[in-house]
Amino acid sequence: MVGSAKLASQEKKKNLGQRVKKYWGFYIMFLPVLAFVIVFHYLPMLGIRYAFTQYKLIKAPTFVGFAQFQKLFGMPNFWNAFKNTIELSVIKLLLTTFLSVVISLLLNEMISIKGKKLAQTIIYLPHFLSWVVTASVFQLILAPTSVGLVNTILIKLGVVNEGIYFLGKSEWWRFSYYLINIWHDTGWGTIIFMATLTGIDPGTYEAASIDGAGRWQKMWYITLPALANTIITVLILNLAKIMNLFESVFVLQNDAVMETSQVLQTYVYYQTFNSGAVPDYGYTTAIGLFRSVVGMALMLACNAASHKVRGRGIM
């Protein structure tokens, strides 16, 4: 028995050499990919060591142990940015997902195929506009002067006497941020729900109709339960990415609303490239490392949740 196992493993070893030889062409094809992944993903990971140093470019990095983290955890600005990251991305995620589901349910009830197609074409569109363009459009639309469309309408309707500075006042900034995100992403979010809805067997609806179920009952007892799994999947997939929040905030924030809009990634950016002092790369790498670790923990938790809910991981 033992002998045959040994023989098999020997056989396997010999095979391994042959198999590697057989596949050499594929290994060569993979080289460019490998080179890119190493340079742009793995080399930066080695850079994490700077989080344990003081590194001000003019001098070589000096090892400081956990001093940067001590500094970090004592900074109110850091905790504020961490709190903002979670609040902004979670509320944004819940709002856009909820509205995507509502829009999908309504789209599903549309009888005119042409109307449905046209509506879909239009609501997907904003997703493809860059955040710079989106911010530019809304900067003009929400301007407090008479150029701004929204304020002009509000003043004409008599709701307000003076233009509201939507993006420049901290009490309005988040509200505007969520609205702009809803405008940008809700339509695109419906795609995945629509795919699930078209997969529902029409026979189920017919059977329900025969049993006397109305439109709302069918929606409540058939459509929504069918969507439940997809909703959870979407939430899990996006929850894993909430620490990545950067560009949408960066292009919409300004000095007047820093306190309420600063997130971890923008904090790192300003501390490094825009702080006015010589940047300490060690400090900002430490913030980035904290962000990556929290992000990874979220990702793994979501992966476990995904396994439980839908029987496979998120990737």
Binding site: R19, F30, F40, H41, S130, A135, T152, V268
Partner: protein
């Protein structure tokens, strides 16, 4: 009795559909009105106040300014060049990687797949990436904004999911006919994946065209700005080009926004199915 019941459901139907239709008219207006406002103002030689359906004083001077001013034309060309080259490179890397990852019997396949997947979970972060690029002397060159986004593991996995759907027998018979792996790749795998190539190519193209973050992080020479960077600094009021032929500042700003979205708006109606397909390829595996 039966007839009235039938009529009742039917009339319910139509009231609901009318309301539903109205909701979508409103939703579509909410999406289109801001863009319409920008378009109207870009064609209006007076400063566009409030909402007008059409320009007060129609003129193309805004576009003339954008397209004739070298400080705007150059960023536009840089956007075109980086988008084209980046998309090609991105597609090349995604398809090569995806093709190797479907060689299930290949020793080390799982290792290579995991090597890619790890990067989706953990990253060095903004500053270490910046430092690597700087040490490689790639900052302040277009290499940083072309090469870095070209390796996109998410797109590579989508491509792999698509390749998985190609019957293995096709690859096997090509191999038996004496095709090398590379020949099988471009004679079998690529021609059978046109739809996936289109949708993943479009995803790359959109992200290159829209790129702002990478430029903001790695480029601070104005000659290397792409159009998004230029648009951003125009919106922040710092360097608006001289408006020509009677265009106001507002006209030029709006015209620049339209120019930034125009290539996409022209292609979008024709290619919409490919844009949407991309997100559904991922679901094939289920």
């Amino acid at each position: 009795m039966e007839a009235t019941a039938k009529r009742k459901t039917k009339s319910n139907w139509s009231v609901f559909s009318v309301v539903n239709g109205l909701i979508f008219v409103i939703v579509c207006l909410i999406i289109l009105v801001p863009l319409w406002k920008v378009l109207v103002d870009s064609l209006d030689l007076t400063t566009g106040y409030g909402m007008k359906l059409f320009p007060d004083k129609f003129g193309l001077a805004g576009y003339q300014t954008v397209l004739s001013n070298p400080t705007l034309l150059r960023p536009l060309m840089i956007s075109v060049i980086t988008t084209l080259s980046g998309t090609l490179l991105g597609l090349l890397l995604s398809t090569l990687g995806a093709y190797v990852l479907i060689q299930w019997e290949m020793p080390g396949r799982t290792f290579l797949a995991n090597l890619l997947l790890v990067t989706m979970v953990f990253s060095g972060g903004m500053i270490p990436t910046y430092l690597v690029l700087r040490n490689l002397h790639m900052t302040n060159t277009l290499w940083s904004v072309i090469l870095l986004p070209a390796i996109n593991v998410y797109n590579l996995v989508l491509m792999r999911n698509f390749f998985e759907g190609i019957p293995n027998s096709l690859f096997e018979s090509a191999t038996l006919d004496g095709c090398t792996p590379m020949q099988t790749f471009y004679k079998i795998a690529l021609p059978l994946s046109k739809a996936a190539l289109a949708s993943i190519g479009l995803m790359f193209a959109v992200s290159y065209w829209n790129d702002y973050t990478n430029y903001k992080l790695y480029i601070n020479k104005e000659q290397l700005y792409n159009f998004q960077m230029k648009l951003r600094s125009m919106m922040q009021g710092s360097d608006l080009p001289m408006a020509t032929a009677g265009a106001t500042e507002n006209t030029v700003r709006n015209a620049a926004i339209i120019v930034a979205i125009l290539p996409f708006m022209i292609l979008y109606p024709f290619l919409q199915k490919y844009f949407v397909k991309g997100i559904n390829i991922g679901a094939v595996k289920e």
